[in-house]
Symmetry: C2
Subunit: 359 residues, 2 copies
DNA sequence: CTGAAAGCGCTTACAG
DNA sequence: CTGAAAGCGCTTACAG
């Protein structure tokens, strides 16, 4: 209970001026008063308008520094004629997952170049959360919105577009709404991945995927089926497992399949976590060198596993960058019809996808 | 050149009302006029104040729906007596890297519970960028700031704290500033990791680390030295490599060391990317089963490499959560002296760290 | 070149 | 319970 070094006023001060109430920030008026100039002159100096007498400008700067003045951007945005907040919203699946994080960084880089900040949020595949977060971002008057959608009805955004809020979809297409979208070539990428396995001689190729309500998952499944059909394989009796949401579930699914009566000789995993689960299951069963594995979407350390995992790599940096560029084009006034931009995937052969079927 | 379905007025319209100018959003005044009530009544209804006659409230709701009214939160924040924007700033090393992304998600979860949004930015270890981004976040009047600092002088934040902006440091301590900080037990964690290697019988233990200007790196180096000394090992002649910023550089450094005249029997890597580089180098040299490896900070798939990589795991979720909780405590008025909170690390033995030295 | 008035969309403080 | 006036911190539109 030692006495603090600085003097502590009694409770009477706490009532008149509670200690939780910090000193408020100086405003332009304060600066103007101290500098002995008009409010508008301070505004000009702060905004770098050149037509101010050097002597006045100097006085303003001195006063501003003395008071520790910082302009209030939210007030300035409110009054500005363009009504811009220099803020965009970015709704991702989960800011903490690697794919979302890569998208985020790419968007940030484009936005920061324009002095625009990013309000990011995680949707966790929840359509209700999508609508809630879109709503509060609109209420904050973001200039635009980049959305990796969780829902399957985006007609609620029509009025927002009309009201002047730019909207771009990322990774997944909008539904019931015309808007720009940037997506991977999910269907074709999956088709090429599976064709790669077929070319190595495989006939029993299992599909392991996420829930089909996610459009990318169903597109990739479509590509899988297409590859089977165009090779004359029986797509009807193919081994298919949907709804694999995480590593453990995927691992169990693969373990079951491989231990089953007619184990697949190759596995196509439609997504990162599923690929990792599959690799893990094959390793545990000591089948990793005998069962081929192709994953959709690359991941860190895929090249360090044994065998190294072959994938159809997406390009999240290119996707995020393009989405941001499209958004700013819209914000700058482009009102052409919404378009979908497809970013190609790339086959990365590392070993697991090149394992031949048993002779 | 086909005619668009909707009528297109000529250039005269384009001048009076350019097509890039979207319809502006309705305001409270518009709603009040349509509902035939006062402005303040609309405000009450929008803010859920109960003392409004049900009949009036219904008229307001009808009018608001009809116009597609959305409240302008930035205007409301500007006028509100507490001056809060319900926004916090989060400055990370890089929103795209896994550790930063995990911190981000944890902060988001705490913030969203309070209806607070997060403006995130990447500093890329650049002190200038730190000051620039802090400045613009202050100008946007964020309620608080969570910073993974890049700089080594934070005295510039003293006036911001005084002006009422809450500041919490994350992962690294502030310098020349009193503020809350949430950090891992870097020094002690490193000491325990290296002691773990010593207990396995190692005497030549290499240190591989990031640049020493990063406080966490120097703390971990300190723990490494402490472990050597307390085991009576010669810290002076220890094999030490700093400035390893990425996987490739670390990989080269380890390759050189292991091929050298007195190769280490164990390696302590102070950071994720360095650990991965070390694992990769040992694998390529076919020394992974003969050279022990301990990393600081866990990473995805560490358990799937062969041998699986032992680490001192940090808890980014707990770190981010606590930082956010502390920030909101400050925002709510806590003005006690800044404190440092240390989150313990946990030794995860997976194999690589338990390899004994050659007999 | 400079500044007083009006207003961005809302809440506060105050009458009725 | 309801609303007209004033004002948050700034920019716009307009005089001087």
């Amino acid at each position: 209970m030692s006495e603090p070094p600085s003097p502590r006023p009694g409770p009477s001060r706490a009532q008149a001026e509670p200690s939780t109430q910090p000193a408020s920030r100086p405003t332009m008026r304060d600066v103007a008063a101290l500098a002995g100039v008009g409010l508008k002159t301070v505004s000009r100096v702060v905004n770098g308008v050149p037509s101010v007498a050097p002597e006045l400008a100097a006085r303003v700067h001195t006063a501003a520094d003395k008071l520790g003045y910082r302009p209030n951007l939210t007030a300035s945005h409110l009054r500005r004629s363009d009504g811009r907040t220099a803020t965009i919203g970015l709704l991702l699946e989960d800011v903490g997952n690697p794919f979302s994080a890569a998208l985020h960084r790419a968007v940030e880089d484009v936005a920061m170049q324009r002095g625009v900040f990013v309000l990011a949020g995680s949707l966790d595949e929840d359509p209700v959360r999508e609508r809630t977060l879109v709503s509060t971002l609109i209420d904050r008057r973001v200039d635009g919105l980049i959305i990796v959608p969780a829902g399957t009805d985006h007609s609620y955004l029509i009025q927002e577009q009309r009201a002047g809020t730019a909207v771009v979809f990322l990774d997944r297409q909008p539904t019931l709404l015309g808007a720009d979208a940037v997506v991977s070539d999910n269907r074709d990428g999956a088709r090429r991945a599976v064709s790669h396995l077929i070319a190595a001689g495989h006939r029993r190729i299992a599909y392991l995927g996420d829930k089909t309500s996610i459009s990318t998952a169903s597109d990739r499944f479509g590509g899988y089926l297409e590859a089977l059909r165009s090779a004359g394989l029986d797509a009807e009796s193919a081994v298919v497992r949907h709804e694999l949401r995480d590593v453990e579930i995927a691992e169990r699914a693969v373990t079951e399949l491989v231990r089953g009566r007619q184990p697949p000789t190759a596995v196509f995993a439609s997504q990162n976590l599923v690929t990792i689960g599959a690799a893990r299951a094959l390793a545990h069963l000591a089948m990793a060198d005998r069962t081929a594995l192709m994953g959709f979407d690359d991941f860190l350390l895929a090249d360090s596993l044994r065998p190294a995992v072959s994938v159809m790599a997406q390009d999240p940096a290119a996707m995020g960058r393009l989405a941001a560029q499209l958004l700013f084009r819209r914000i700058d006034g482009d009102d052409s019809p919404g378009r979908t931009y497809v970013i190609p995937t790339r086959l990365v052969a590392r070993g697991s996808g090149e394992i031949p079927p048993p002779a």
